[in-house]
């Protein structure tokens, strides 16, 4: 599971529905106004309700200012310098060969054992990929169809399941939520839609790896997953290979809805290009992810491994609305070099006997800057609510930093909250101990780091976990000595 995009390339040849083949026209000139929003909607041949939905978001966005509270530092973004619609890349615009790509990136591909053609695809070079995965994807779609699971692009869903889109889109993250969510709602390019019908256990892990048309969803991606009563779905996002993108700003929105007795497991491995040694060219990843445990006894778990991006700003959250519902957040975030991350979660307890678990593992190396920000809110109605938070930071070297900001708001006397936080350093003693047993300093670091992250890796689907471990070791190479 190394490349999401390249496989989709071939699979695309099979793809018959939707708009893909119709948007071969140009990229819009930079800038954003109502006309651009309308034009995006028109290009996608969206029904009236979507156009209106986008416009409402756009008008609201105009009244908002970019957030500045996160502990990240970057030059102001000129939103009028961004092009909000681009056709799939034409070969003449893409880098021509691997010679034009940052050698450090290529080295990482080598270490991950990614075949050369796939490397090119990941680096954004136009390729005619030849894979034998077409049959895999076909089998996959057949099995899903049989189970009645809808798994398609959000553009497709707008056309084919407008009633579901109307009912759920923006119901967890309204366009008024925050600056980037408003922007995303106005101009989102594409993304993934999943609907699991009542009582259905989705027969396999869903991953954009197998999703037709996932490539070039662009910088404003939108994901909507609805698990109907008593259903279960596990969704994997991202891939371990570092992905490049010519768009620096990424502002995605992910909405999850779990109805009565439903469960959604959402796993992410985020490895966007962090930039070169000076941090130039890295991705800004400003994401709004939120799950709504709408029904009684529903459950949503977020598991994330964040190693990429120049700047990460994201707080996958759970609204525990249904009685006895459960929210979980397991996170490993790595910042090294010049990377900055402000990440964490929010657990909003509204229903009775709701439970949440937060396990956050932050690793900083080099000059990496990392902030954990977590909110646990127990409302007046949330009798018997419980939260356990475990927040650990591991520092490698003397120039990195980690901060923890837990926010707790309790409005019910029966709430039971536990918070544990630790900060540790990989000590000289530990390194020497390992080295005196014949291990290199790098082996030692990777061993200690993997041990530190174990609780989170245990939550990942098996092969994702193996890759995440490998990825972490590679990310931290050269972090010591």
């Amino acid at each position: 599971m190394t490349s999401t995009q390249a496989v989709d390339d071939i699979v695309r040849s099979e793809y018959e529905h939707g708009f893909v083949t119709e948007i071969e026209s140009d990229t819009f000139p930079p800038g954003l106004d109502e006309g651009v929003v309308r034009a995006i909607s028109a290009r996608k041949r969206e029904p009236e309700f979507m156009t209106e939905w986008r416009l409402k978001a756009y008008r609201h966005w105009l009244t908002m200012a970019p957030p500045h509270w996160a502990a990240v530092d970057y030059p102001p973004i000129d939103f009028n310098a961004i092009s909000y619609f681009s056709a799939p890349k034409r070969p003449e615009d893409a880098p021509k060969s691997l010679d034009e790509i940052d050698p450090a990136l290529l080295e990482t591909y080598e270490k991950l054992g990614i075949p050369i053609e796939e490397q090119k695809a990941l680096a954004g070079i136009a390729v005619d990929a030849v894979f034998d995965s077409v049959s895999v994807a076909t089998t996959f779609r057949a099995a899903l169809a049989e189970a009645g699971v809808v798994f398609c692009s959000i553009s497709e869903a707008v056309h084919e399941h407008p009633e579901l889109v109307k009912a759920y889109l923006g119901s967890v993250v309204p366009h008024t939520d925050n600056f980037y969510a408003a922007l995303n709602s106005a101009v989102f390019s594409d993304g993934t839609f999943v609907y699991v019908p009542k009582g259905v256990r989705c027969p396999m892990e869903l991953s954009t790896y197998f999703r037709i048309n996932a490539r070039n969803t662009g910088q404003f991606e939108r994901t909507l997953i609805v698990a109907d009563e008593g259903s279960y779905v596990s969704y994997l996002e991202g891939c371990t290979a570092p992905q490049r993108d010519e768009n620096q700003l990424h502002a995605a929105v992910v909405e999850l809805i779990a109805l009565k007795d439903a469960e959604i497991k959402y796993s992410t491995v985020q490895n966007w290009y962090p930039g070169d040694a000076e941090g130039r060219g890295g991705i800004y990843n400003f994401v709004t992810k939120r799950g709504d445990c709408r029904g009684a006894r529903s459950k949503i778990s977020w598991t994330q491994v964040e190693t990429g991006s120049a700047i990460t700003w994201k707080y996958p959250s759970c609204i525990l609305r249904g009685d006895d519902s459960v929210g979980e957040f397991y996170s490993v975030a790595v910042t090294k070099g010049r990377q900055q991350a402000d990440t964490g979660t929010k657990m909003i307890h509204l229903g009775r006997n709701t439970r949440s678990t937060i396990v956050s593992k932050g690793i900083s190396a080099g000059e990496g800057q990392q902030t954990y920000r977590g909110l646990v809110r127990i409302s007046q109605r949330a009798a018997g609510a419980r939260n356990h938070t475990q927040c650990d930071s591991l520092l490698i070297g003397d120039r990195c930093a980690a901060n923890t900001f837990p926010y707790i708001e309790v409005r019910h006397p029966s709430a039971n909250l536990e918070h544990e936080a630790t900060t540790s350093k990989i000590s000289e003693d530990q390194l020497f101990y390992c080295r005196s047993r014949g291990l290199t300093a790098e082996d030692a670091v990777s061993m200690i780091v993997n041990g530190f992250c174990k609780e989170v890796f245990n939550e990942l689907p098996m092969e994702f976990a193996v890759e995440a471990q490998k990825l972490l070791s590679i990310s931290l190479e050269g972090a010591v000595g």
């Binding site: 000289e428 530990q430 101990y433 080295r435 005196s436 047993r437 290199t440 082996d443 993997n450 041990g451």
Partner: protein, 251 residues
Amino acid sequence: MLSVKGLRANVGENEILKGLDLEVGPGEVHAIMGPNGSGKSTLAHVLSGREGYEVTAGSVTFEGQDLLALEPEERAQRGLFLAFQYPVELPGVNNTYFLKAALNSVRKSRGEDELDAVSFLRLIKEKLKILHLDDSLLKRSVNAGFSGGEKKRNEIFQMALLEPKLAILDETDSGLDIDALRVVADGVNALRSPERSMIVVTHYQRLLDYIEPDHVHVLAKGRIIRSGGKELALELEEKGYGWVVEEERAA
């Protein structure tokens, strides 16, 4: 096997080792005794390549090679082993995994194949028995939450597994109860062979009752000020270090 000549080493501004000489032949067991703070652990650390020590003079050769030019892991791979006075905890690092990685790294540099999981497990079970250690330690993190005695036994267990050519045991006896001392000593004795040398740092004759040294040295103020046979240890036990230091000063 090991030849230390005129070794001087600093920690920061302070000179700790002040011209130390030591010759260890194959199969020999050398005991090093000496007052607290005399530089015994410093010697062990310098020999195994710990950072933070500056060697200002002298040389160390190990099997004809310049030991000081090697990285700590290279020294370990070539057969040097240090049983720590204070073993270090590695929370989250599974003991079995750690042992396997260590063993395979050492085997690799000896030109041997990596052990498969089954042979590895068989091997560690066998070595555990020698040290009277419980299987359950294998599932735990390296040294984390181990009792003082368990940590020390775990060091010798690692030594049994890695089969070094030269082992330095830094106060392995301190913190052990009487039964554990016996177990550890038995474990060490089982590893004695004509090819394997040992440097045993201790404060107590008790350990040397079990592990009989070929040579005993007194380290004081950064130098070996007296060497002798095993009877020297008995004499020290009886009279303390004072007289040796006095005689040295007078000489």
